[in-house]
């Protein structure tokens, strides 16, 4: 279950690409970075079936007749990636039992936050609760990007989206984010984790490998910046991720067999406005007179960070 080999960045980068180029995701798409690197965590030679909820990724990575997947791939709809892959995994058990297939397969499915936090939550919950040996990866870009930046339950508070526009009497999305990782942990599955793109992405690779090679269901939540929806220059993706982590807006942690583990604690926690100011979707927060909104945002980040630390220290 544990990755036995030590982390070897160069070896991972030398692995054959499992997400082929030629997909039609936006230039600079964070979701694609998440998918590519999760798939890199598969051991070379291991077979996999990749699932996918409808979303940006799906319409761009399997646009007939072009598939970007080097493995078998299935998409069926928006809200059912969990159920669809659970059917594939069960077929694997059935066919293996009958001796019809010999190879070992891994099962990984991807969904955006719309397909995961919202419309696909029931299907995901069912698949996790039933204990299928699969990994559900949410590339969380915090809105329904495929349909044009509508709010989701993963959208951060005060974000300006096309269904929570900041206006003369609105400050953007009134609610704060749903804590999906906690919901997944509450399923008491063997492995749940949250990460994003930091440094050499060791955190992401280690978690993806654990998720893939842990027997039973696993859930990975990966913050995947969307330059279009968040309104920043794609080239700044590296900075945005770093700031999300250093401000404790996006903590990196995992829940292993019920034990909460904080994987990174900033030496000096940065104010959340450092993260917010980089993104056009929070522009209205920086208007004079709106300082209190940033304070509210900061309070929410602080509260959640303390709560997480308590869970991890318990």
């Amino acid at each position: 279950m544990e990755n036995k080999t030590a982390f070897n960045f160069k070896e991972i980068q030398s692995r054959p690409e499992r997400l082929a180029p030629g997909h039609r995701m936006c230039a600079g798409c964070g979701g694609t970075i998440a998918v590519r690197n999760v798939l890199k965590a598969l051991h070379p030679g291991d077979k996999a079936v990749i699932g996918n909820a409808t979303g940006c990724l799906e319409v761009s990575s399997f646009t007939y007749p072009y598939t970007s997947y080097e493995d078998s791939y299935i998409h069926s709809a928006f809200e059912n990636a969990g159920a669809t892959l659970s059917g594939v995994e069960t077929a694997y058990i059935a066919l293996k039992k009958k001796g019809k297939i010999k190879d070992n397969y891994k099962f990984i499915t991807f969904g955006g936050d719309g397909g995961t936090y919202d419309i696909g939550l029931q299907s995901l919950s069912g698949a996790m609760e039933r204990g299928h040996d699969m990994v559900y990866v949410c590339y969380d870009n915090g809105a329904y990007m495929n349909t044009g930046i509508q709010r989701s339950s993963a959208t951060p508070m005060f974000a300006d989206t096309t269904t929570t526009p900041a206006g003369s009497v609105s400050n953007g999305k009134p609610q704060s984010r749903k804590d999906l990782v906690a919901i997944m942990a509450a399923h008491h599955i063997p492995y749940t984790a949250q990460t994003t793109f930091i440094g050499n992405m060791k955190d992401l690779y280690v978690k993806a490998e654990k998720a893939i090679y842990t027997q039973g269901p696993a859930f990975l939540n990966i913050m995947a910046p969307c330059p279009r929806g968040w309104r920043f220059d794609a080239a700044d993706t590296v900075d945005i991720c770093k700031l999300a982590v250093e401000t404790c807006y996006w903590p990196m942690y995992e829940v292993v067999d019920g034990k909460w583990i904080l994987n990174y604690e900033p030496k000096k926690k940065l104010p959340v406005e450092d993260f917010l100011i980089k993104q056009g979707r929070f522009k209205h927060l920086f208007k004079t007179g709106n300082e209190y909104l940033i304070e509210q945002f900061q309070a929410e980040v602080d509260r959640r960070w303390e709560e997480l630390k308590n869970k991890c220290n318990a």
Partner: protein
């Protein structure tokens, strides 16, 4: 040889499932199909079946998981009724367009509004344009036989479409009646192993299912899918012919009962057609030339063939156990009337909505209906061609 038994429709279909021994069955309980997943779970619990049962959290997930399993290379099935089918709706289309030969044992029950658990065909009729093959049963025997033939049609290389085998909720699913079963080994041989050409778990060849397709591909894809449906007509007949050899029971796209010389015909679907047969016998004894056309295969729709079989009739009542809210009759009424028109039929036609939400239909109801047809044949359709039977006015 054949095994004489008595079983309810649900027991019979569960028994067929056991004999066919499919690979994966995701299902969610809903009255009156609930017994099907229960029976299969029991078979699984006692090692009588190799099927992997997935206790999914909704019907949407049953169809999604069935799709995943089917695409992966497994023989998959599910069972449902009414609102359960409605919750699958979106996925019905996706399963069909992905050309996945899933079987769905449907126990017909009305769609909610108001909530009711009894027999009606509004569930499957609503799904009639989803791209699924649809075959209907009059009784437990036909429900059993239809399920045994199901995969042979669905998996046929010229078809490759999912199939819905339908029986009437409660009336068929829960009534114990005589049935003749086929020996396990004969069924096994008849159905055969599922050897898909392409599947996700093919170690030699990766596969991708469910693309986004631009308009320049979509219309062509839909036309190709329609061809599978058209091809299914002949495949249904071929499979039925082979089935006759192991069962001695003959099936066509529809059944004709005393229709050869009939002047007045009823056309309908399901258990009430058995009741109609009793009425026909009584009328025939009085010299009235009554006949019946019972639809078995509704998708593909054998319009031309039915129109030909009805060519000699003076008056026809097309029965719909379903209100389509078109303000113009039910689905069978609409489709068959159009087929009769194309066949230049001179018959007087009425469309009768009956049996909604389990409203009982009796032998005398049919006797009265034939009486009305006799009148219409002479005097023409007086009131409206679209009417209700057994309704309190």
């Amino acid at each position: 040889m054949a095994i004489k038994e008595r079983m309810s429709g649900n027991e019979a279909v569960a028994f067929a499932i056991k004999q066919v021994n499919p690979d994966v069955m995701p299902a969610f309980p809903i009255t009156p199909s609930t017994e099907l997943p229960q029976f299969v779970s029991n078979y699984v619990a006692n090692g009588k079946i190799d099927t992997e049962f997935i206790p999914v959290e909704s019907e949407h997930s049953s169809m999604s998981a069935a799709m995943g399993a089917s695409a992966a290379g497994a023989r998959a099935l599910t069972a449902t009724s009414s609102c359960g089918l409605a919750l699958m709706w979106e996925m019905l289309y996706v399963a069909a367009s992905s050309r996945l030969p899933i079987a769905l044992a449907l126990v017909n029950r009305g769609l909610t509004g108001p909530l009711n658990i009894n027999c009606e065909h509004s569930d499957s009729m609503g799904a009639r344009d989803s791209g699924w093959l649809q075959v209907y049963a009059e009784n437990n025997q036909e429900a059993y036989d239809n399920f045994i033939m199901a995969y042979r049609v669905a998996e046929h290389k010229d078809v490759r479409l999912p199939i819905m085998t339908c029986m009437d909720g409660f009336i068929t699913s829960h009534a114990v009646e005589n049935i003749t079963l086929i020996e396990d080994d004969l069924v096994k041989k008849f159905v055969g192993e599922y050897e898909p050409e392409h599947y996700l778990l093919n170690e030699e060849e990766p596969m991708a299912v469910g693309p986004y397709a631009v308009s320049n591909y979509c219309m062509e894809a839909k036309r190709a899918q329609a061809q599978g449906m058209m091809n299914a007509k002949q495949v249904f007949l071929d499979v039925a012919k082979e089935f006759e050899q192991i069962s001695g029971r003959k099936y066509g796209l529809f059944e004709e009962y005393k229709l050869d010389d009939a002047e007045y015909a009823v056309v309908g679907i399901g258990s009430a057609m058995g009741t109609a047969k009793d009425a026909i016998d009584a009328l025939r004894a009085k010299g009235i030339k009554a006949g019946l056309l019972k639809v078995r295969v509704f998708r593909p729709f054998p319009g031309e063939e039915m129109a030909a079989a009805l060519a000699g009739c003076k008056a026809i009542a097309i029965m719909d156990r379903c209100e389509s809210y078109s303000g113009n009759g039910g689905p069978l009424g609409a489709e068959l009337t159009s087929a009769l028109y194309r066949a230049k039929s001179k018959a007087e036609i009425i469309n009768v909505v009956y049996g909604l939400s389990g409203r009982d239909v009796k032998v005398e109801d049919f006797e009265n209906l034939y009486g009305e047809l006799a009148d219409i044949a002479v005097n023409g359709v007086k009131d409206t061609q679209y009417r209700y039977l057994g309704l309190r006015e």
